[in-house]
Symmetry: C2
Subunit: 304 residues, 2 copies
């Protein structure tokens, strides 16, 4: 079941258009690479991260064009991570969002080049959308990108993921990998636009905690889902975690304990949001996002 | 025969130290990924691009720290391109600079993650080293990175390279691939620090021509070398171009015609350098670099 944003959603329409317009897959690009890029940017899923960045950036004072540009950057990093994750030498997936994976259609090399093209364009978009910031904030934003996208973030998580089968397979290792792989891009989506508000150190502390709770909750839900569901309902290759000794919280803890952890994380996120809103009403968009983001996850677990 | 910079060269010592210090392979990184990064940054070849960027950036007014940082960025992009180029799904090489390729030691996935880590860190280093520029020049620098590293540059060249065997295999296609793959990183090494000087449009025109001549000369020399040499003298897997129907100018034109072209490109580069120096003496470092860069190439061909 492909995840498409509701067409009536005005943010989604703007974001889909921006994802197409900023795509590096212009008409002179080699046709296979162009096709891979068109597929990726035309089927971007629920646009969770892009919506959050767009709303946050608008709230914190970017104009609509720059806010869309920054949102595209974060979504391109995410799309690139999916292309790379699915490769045979990584998670070796066949389907994603109900469609055959890019590398299965165009080959591994073209999937890698498409991911690199999205990453390269994302850095350009980030630099342009942040170019009007004062130099101190701008450098903090670049350092945030480095931490999230480098060996301290998603690449470090993926490297540990590759060696998971030979690790102790503990819940702790599963959580560390989830924080690196899933957590860092959510962190980027929260933290990068939040820097525009020049937050106090107490606000930054709560923002970081929120990123962690959301990231781990999302991964816990995904892991429970992987064990319980099948490809027809999830839109991607599932049930693989058990077969391939992949890091999965529900495998490490058992499904009931994983569910309790998911609900605890959701409560911790809500408590953190209340503290943030007490500091300043400018953080209320995060509560709106949590409703849109976590509510379906919790409903899904309640129904399962 | 591994290419090591002469230890007495003070620029090389500074650059080697900066490559180590800026490396994303810090002590907390997963050990295989860290080993791959240490190998890459400790054996960076002749540092052609880094030396050029360092000298150019100093000439055009960056302080030593920022000049080293920018040079590291360009060298990391180059090192990443080598890691990716050697993958089985790309050029499928076994050795590089006299050493076993990273993916053959640590696996394809770790080689890909190492390349991404270098690219991510390179964008951060570029953003930091250019952060004091006026906004207009800074954005031109980011646009230059986008053009060189994206689908209009090295990724576009690599995508055409992947499909070369099914193309017309003409000298024109070979040159287009060489311009994309080899030319763009040389272009970056010339063009990015040259932007610091806020060059006139006439100067930019000559700089671009110089990038093209150097890039094509370098590739022509490499292609002739591939047909004539063996792995023991070149330090990388050779003689493969013929076997694998890879783009090779000397295969497309024949060796005598490829040599004539190489010498013509060298003459064109020299004439362009004279024009640039006539505009302004600040471009003389490019003549020094050409002596260090093209003289050994031409001597090699004369001796072969």
């Amino acid at each position: 079941m492909p995840h498409h944003p509701a067409p009536a959603d005005p943010d989604a329409s703007l974001l889909l258009e921006a994802l197409r317009e900023n795509s590096p897959g212009h008409s002179a690009v080699e046709p296979h690479l162009r096709a891979a890029l068109t597929d990726a940017t035309a089927n971007p899923g629920r646009l969770l991260r892009a919506r959050l960045v767009f709303r946050a950036a608008l709230t914190h004072g970017l104009d609509e064009t720059d806010a869309l540009t920054l949102a595209c950057a974060v979504e391109y990093y995410h799309l690139a991570s999916l292309l790379l994750d699915d490769l045979p030498c990584m998670d070796n997936a066949d389907t994603r969002r109900g469609r055959v994976c890019t590398h299965r259609i165009h080959g591994d090399a073209t999937a890698i080049l498409a991911a690199l093209a999205l990453i390269n364009r994302a850095y350009t978009l980030a630099a342009f959308s942040l170019s009007h910031l004062p130099s101190g904030l701008r450098l903090r934003a670049h350092a945030t990108l480095d931490a999230a996208l480098g060996t301290a973030g998603i690449l470090g998580g993926q490297a540990r993921d590759l060696r998971f089968a030979t690790s102790d397979r503990s819940a702790r290792e599963v959580a560390a990998i989830a924080a690196g792989k899933t957590g860092t891009l959510l962190t980027l989506a929260i933290y990068l636009p939040a820097l525009l508000a020049d937050p106090s150190s107490a606000e930054l502390h709560h923002l970081k905690a929120l990123c962690l709770y959301w990231g781990l909750a999302y991964q816990a839900s995904d892991d429970i889902h992987d064990l319980l569901s099948n490809p027809a309902t999830s839109g991607k290759t599932t049930g693989r975690d058990r077969a391939l000794a992949r890091p999965n919280l529900a495998l490490a803890l058992g499904i009931p304990a994983a569910r309790r952890r998911l609900h605890r994380l959701a409560r911790q996120a809500s408590a953190t949001l209340e503290k943030l809103s007490a500091f300043h009403p400018r953080w209320r968009y995060l509560a709106d996002f949590q409703n849109a983001f976590l509510a379906p996850i919790l409903a899904r677990e309640a129904a399962a």
